[in-house]
Symmetry: C2
C-alpha cells in the first residue's frame, strides 16, 4: 500500500511560514532572473491530458514529467506569465495579511483593465482576465509549481461535505467530537490538511453519494450501530470531502466503501473518489483513495435484489454514452468485474437509485443491504 509515512492524524498542511516561504521562493526566482539581466520565465509542470499518466502500481492518475517554460518575452506566453505573477502576488498578500479569499475573490481582486499604446500608436486596452477559468488556471499552475494545494494557501471554496462518527478532530485549538453532533453533522471545512485527527474508532468509512440518504442513516445512528464513519459529498464530491476520505484511508487504514445510485453518474462519482478526475490529475496523489471499494447500488443488483420492474428507470442516451466513456478509463479497463458491470448497464439500458431498495422496507438498506455486502465482500473494485 503506497501510504504516507507521516504520523497518522497530525495536521499535514505545511505551516503558514512554509507556505509563504514557498510562494515567495517562486517569486524570488523571477526577481533574480530580472536582476541578473536574463529574460524572466517560469517552469510550470504541464497539466494537459498528454502529460497525465495512469500509474498502474499506485492506481492513480498522476502528472507526467513534462514542464513548460513560460517566458515573459514570448508574445504567445507573456499574458499567461503576467497572469501567473499577478495571482502569485495576490496569494502572497492574502497569506501575509492572514486573509482567506475564495477563488472568486481572487478573480475579482486581480481583474483590472490595462491601458497601453500599441505598435501602431493606438490606445488600446486589455483585461487581466476575462473570466474565472483564466484565473483558476493560474491558481492551478501555482499549485503544481509550488507543490502546495490551494487549500494550503488559505483559498476557500464552497465546502459541502458532511461527516459523523466515532472520531475526534482538533481544529483551531478545539476538540470536536464527531459522535456528538446530534441529528446534525460536522460540515467538512475547506482545508482538511489543517485538521488534526486525534482519534478514530471505526471499522470502515461509508461514503454515500446522496445527502438525503446520509440524513436518514445519521438519524438512525447507522454509524454507531455499525461502527463506521459516515460521510457524504452530496453528489459530485468537492476537494475537501475527497481529502477527508483519503486521510481516513491513508492514515487510519480504514477500508472505504462508496454507495451511489446504479447509473453512469454514480459510477463516475465512485471513480472520482477512487482515482481522481482527469482535469485535476495533479491532485489525485493527495485527493484520491485508490483502494476505495464500490459497494453499490449496481446494475447487477437489479436481479440480485429482485428490484420490481416499475422501480427501474430507463437510461438516457447520455447515460449510455457516459458509460462507454467510463469503459475507456484505465482504472475501469483494468477491472474485469467493472467491465462486466458497465457492459451490463449498457445492454440493459436500465438504472436504479439507492432508494429503490426501500421497496423491501425502509430498513432494508441499513439492516440488510450494506452489512451483507460488506460481510460477504460483494463490493466491486
Amino acid at each position: 500500500m503506497p501510504k504516507n509515512t507521516q504520523q497518522a492524524g497530525k495536521p499535514i498542511s505545511p505551516s503558514s511560514e512554509e507556505v509563504l516561504a514557498r510562494l515567495e521562493q517562486l517569486a524570488k526566482s523571477i526577481y533574480d532572473q530580472i536582476q541578473s539581466g536574463k529574460p524572466p520565465y517560469l517552469d510550470i509542470p504541464v497539466r494537459t491530458l498528454a502529460n497525465t499518466i495512469w500509474d498502474k502500481k499506485r492506481k492513480l492518475l498522476v502528472l507526467g514529467p513534462k514542464t513548460a517554460k513560460r517566458e515573459f518575452f514570448d508574445i504567445g506566453e507573456s499574458k499567461r506569465f503576467m497572469q501567473t505573477i499577478l495571482m502569485l502576488s495576490l496569494i502572497v498578500r492574502a497569506r501575509r495579511e492572514n486573509d482567506y479569499p475564495t477563488i472568486r475573490d481572487l478573480y475579482y481582486t486581480g481583474k483590472h483593465t490595462i491601458y497601453y499604446v500599441n505598435e501602431y500608436g493606438k490606445k488600446v486596452s486589455e483585461e487581466t482576465w476575462d473570466d474565472q477559468r483564466e484565473s483558476n488556471a493560474v491558481i492551478q499552475d501555482i499549485e503544481v509549481a509550488t507543490g502546495l494545494l490551494r487549500e494550503h494557501m488559505g483559498i476557500m471554496h464552497d465546502a459541502k461535505g458532511r461527516i459523523v462518527g466515532n472520531m475526534i478532530i482538533r481544529s483551531k485549538g478545539t476538540e470536536i467530537d464527531l459522535s456528538r453532533m446530534g441529528s446534525g453533522a460536522w460540515g467538512i471545512p475547506s482545508n482538511v490538511d489543517q485538521l488534526e485527527i486525534t482519534k478514530v474508532e471505526a471499522d470502515y468509512v461509508l461514503v454515500v453519494e446522496k445527502g438525503a440518504i446520509f440524513e436518514r442513516l445519521n438519524e438512525e445512528e447507522f454509524w454507531k450501530k455499525n461502527k463506521c464513519i459516515l460521510v457524504t459529498g452530496k453528489g459530485q464530491p468537492d476537494r475537501s470531502t475527497r481529502r477527508m476520505v483519503r486521510r481516513l484511508w491513508e492514515e487510519f487504514d480504514l477500508p472505504v466503501y462508496i454507495l451511489t445510485d446504479a447509473d453512469s453518474y454514480g459510477y463516475y462519482i465512485y471513480s472520482v473518489y477512487r482515482s481522481g478526475s482527469i482535469s485535476l490529475s495533479y491532485e489525485s496523489e493527495r485527493l484520491a483513495t485508490p483502494e476505495a471499494r464500490f459497494l453499490g447500488v449496481s446494475t447487477s443488483d437489479i436481479e440480485r435484489y429482485k428490484i420490481p420492474k416499475n422501480y427501474i428507470i430507463k437510461a438516457t442516451e447520455r447515460d449510455i454514452k457516459r458509460a462507454k466513456e467510463l469503459m475507456n478509463y484505465p482504472w475501469f479497463k483494468e477491472s474485469k468485474r467493472w467491465m462486466e458491470e458497465l457492459q451490463l448497464f449498457i445492454e440493459r439500458g436500465e438504472k436504479i437509485e439507492i432508494e429503490a431498495l426501500s421497496g423491501h422496507g425502509f430498513k432494508f438498506l441499513s439492516n440488510v443491504y450494506i452489512p451483507e455486502k460488506i460481510a460477504n465482500k460483494e463490493w466491486i473494485i
Copy 2:
C-alpha cells in the same frame, strides 16, 4: 411582532406520540365514514395560488380558508384520494417502526402497479404514481390536513445548511456548542423543530447566500469578532435552514440580515427567507422570517461603493424578467425602497456579486461593508 408564545429554545416538534395520533386520527376519520356506510372523503385545504393570501399585518403568505372535499366515489378524485391514503399508510408505518424515509424513499415504497379489469372487460393496469411530483403533492396534502410539517413526521431531505456561532443546541441528548466547530461548522439537520436551543449569545444573525463566503467568514472568525450567528443556506435555502433562521428570530428576538449577490436571484433568496415561496405558502407561517432585513449587496451599492466597471456583469434577459416578476410580489410592492431598487436593477441592467467588494481589499466585506451597513441601518426592507 407576531411571535410565538412558547418558551424560547424548547423543541417545538410535537412528540412522536402526538405525531402518530394526529396521523391515525386522519385515517380513522376515513375508517369511521366507511363503517357508517358513508362515501369516504377527505377535507384538504386547497394549496393553489387562488387560495394563497398575503397577510399584510403578519407580512406572510398564508393559505386561505378554502378546502376541497376529496371523494373516493368521484371518478376525477378517486386516484388522488387513494394516493393520499397510500401515503398516509406509509408514513404511519414509518413512524410506528421508527424509520426516517426520504421523500424519494416514500415515492419508491408506494410505487406499484395496480392491475384491474375495466368496464369493457379488458385487463388494464395503472401506476400508483408516475413521478415524484405526485407523491410529494400528497405529502403536502397530509401536511396541511394534519397541521404537521413533514419533518415532524420524520421525513428526511438533503439538508445543506451550515451554522456556527455562540450558541448551544441539545439534540439526541447531546449538547452541541456551535462556537467549538473549528474550521468546520454544524450541518443543520432535517428536523430543526426537534432541537432544543439552550443558549444563544449573539447580537444578530447573518445569513449569507454563498457557501464559499460562509467558509471565508468562518475561517476569519467573523461571528466571534462581531457577536453574531453565521448561517448559510448555500443558494436557495432548504426548509431546515429557513426554519433555523426563523427560530432564532422568533424565539431569541435576534435581528436577521441577509447577504446575497446583487441580482434578481439574490433578491429572490432574500424574499424566500423573509416571506416564503408561493408554492409552499402553507409553510410560511413556520418557515419565514417576516422581519428579515436585506443587507446587500444591492444595485445601488454599485455607485455607493464605487464598484469598478469591469467587476460589473451585464444582466441577462432572464434576470430582468425575474426582477419584473419580483415587482409584483406583495412584499416587494409594499416597500418603496425595494421598488426603487428593483427599478434601478432593471434600468441599469447590471448585477454584481458579493465578491466584487474584494476589489477594495479582501477584508473590506468583513471589516467595513457588513459592520457599517448594520451600524448605519442601511438595510433594505
